[in-house]
Amino acid sequence: MTARDGGDRTLGEAAGISSRSSSAATVMPALTVTISLLGLGLLWSLAANTWPSRAFPGPGEVWQVLLREAASGDLFYHLGATLGRVAAAYFVAMIVGSAIGILLGSYRRADRFFNPWVILFLNIPALVIIVLAYIWFGLNEAAAIGAVAVNKIPNVVVTMREGARALDPSYAEMAAVYRFGPLDRLRHILLPQLQPYLAAASRSGIALIWKIVLVVELLGRSNGVGFQIHLYFQLFDVAAILAYTLAFVAVMLVIELLLVQPVERHATRWRRRPA
């Protein structure tokens, strides 16, 4: 789910998806997913046997490489490096993007002035931002993470701006009458209303970010999944390329299942019991 590109998921889905899951209802989809993935693996294996080539290894071969890389510790070292960059870029992009988005959504005149900037940044290719960041700030970690975050920030701004426009003023007025402090307003008034938008921005965000992180690593870092893929590309070792890719997709899936979905379920628990 994480690997799916953002944008195609509506807000309603993002907010409501976890509300329908119950133990009985989750068994069938899980079974379907397993069978579907097994089918894909089978097809892959058949195709690899039909056209044997070093450029098109079968699943068994990829699995062997995966075990070898895991045993040497390389796999976890590079996965960890990439995961760290994904996490850092994600938090920077979400915090900066949300702050800007909420400001633009709340102040119409600021929005009118800065909207062209947002559109401009939305349309700058990721590669350009990465290259410029490396040229201006050097081949370092901050430039790498910053470049990824800058690529993601305009998307977050657009989503959170929608969220801020949809804020219900009556809650803010209630908070004003009862003299809520700034922290209480944030925790109990603002964030709960923005939650579906935060969830939508997060989901499309993680997917986009990890793809860009690989490019950043390929161009200017000496570790991470992107660096490894670059290395094995020069060696024409497709099995290793696939091994690293699949390993990272698996990591992202686990994060989705064990972190993102439970957090979302918790945040939307009040929706689950309609009167």
């Binding site: 007025e173 009862y178 003299r179 809520f180 109990h188 008034i189 009040w270 019991r273 309609p274 009167a275």
Partner: protein
């Protein structure tokens, strides 16, 4: 029973309040509106729909500062204000109890609310979310929130509209119960004359837009003596004093 709260009354003196729409159309909602509510008194603002009652309350609540004139909220006591809005305006993502406690100042957050929840019949509903409440129960929760803060002055904007007659009557009795336990200066907006005659010490009658005070109707009768017959009598003398106001 000792009236709690303020020594100074609630004093309102709004010279003018005009709305200007984006298209340049202006609507004068209030013109020379002035009245007072004594400390510990329950007053009703009665006026036809659209005359500017909600506008007046929003000014007094500090939510609308675009007006000319002045007002003075009761001083002393807690200095807090509380409001029951036309809609319950509970936070859907917080339980009933959290909704009530969040409105309390930090030093009262942990206070015992059992008696209040009991009086309002909400004892079993404290851990429910607002979506799980009927409108009547949500309105009770909004009342609980307002009274829990022990305000110096309480504003209510038609808190019982769109309820069926029986539920509205029940809620009026509950309102009187909690209010009598701690008589607070209260100003309630309504366009229901019978409701005003049941609840209020005084009724401030407003003219249609642009609104000003037509006159004040003092109900001398203590609330416990306002049976059906007495209420009919009050209705008659009200109509004598304000012919044409329903």
């Amino acid at each position: 029973m000792q009236p709690v709260g303020a020594a100074a009354p609630l004093r309102v003196d709004i010279a003018e309040k005009t709305f200007r729409s984006a298209q340049g159309v202006s609507v004068m909602a209030l013109k020379n509106l002035s009245f007072e509510v004594q400390q510990g008194e329950f007053a009703c603002l009665l006026g036809p729909s659209g005359c500017g009652k909600t506008t007046t309350l929003r000014i007094l609540l500090g939510l609308d500062r675009q007006f000319s004139g002045s007002f003075q909220l009761p001083e002393g006591g807690s200095n807090r204000i509380a409001a029951v809005f036309q809609e319950p305006t509970l936070l859907p993502w917080r339980t009933v109890e959290q909704n009530v406690r969040l409105a309390l100042p930090k030093d009262l957050r942990a206070k015992n609310l059992d008696a209040l929840f009991d009086t309002l019949g909400l004892a079993g509903m404290r851990s429910l979310y607002p979506a799980e409440l009927s409108l009547g129960l949500a309105r009770r929760a909004a009342l609980a929130r307002a009274f829990a803060t022990e305000p110096a002055v309480l504003f209510l904007d038609e808190p019982f509209v769109s309820l069926d007659g029986r539920t509205a009557g029940q809620l009026r009795r509950l309102l009187l119960d909690v209010w009598s336990a701690r008589p607070t200066t209260a100003l309630m907006v309504t366009h229901n004359l019978t409701e005003a005659l049941t609840l209020a010490d005084r009724i401030i009658v407003l003219a249609p837009r642009p609104s000003h005070v037509l006159g004040v109707f003092d109900i001398g009768l203590p609330r416990q003596h306002r049976g059906p017959d007495a209420t009919n009598g009050l209705l008659r003398s009200f109509h004598q004093k304000f012919p044409g106001v329903t």
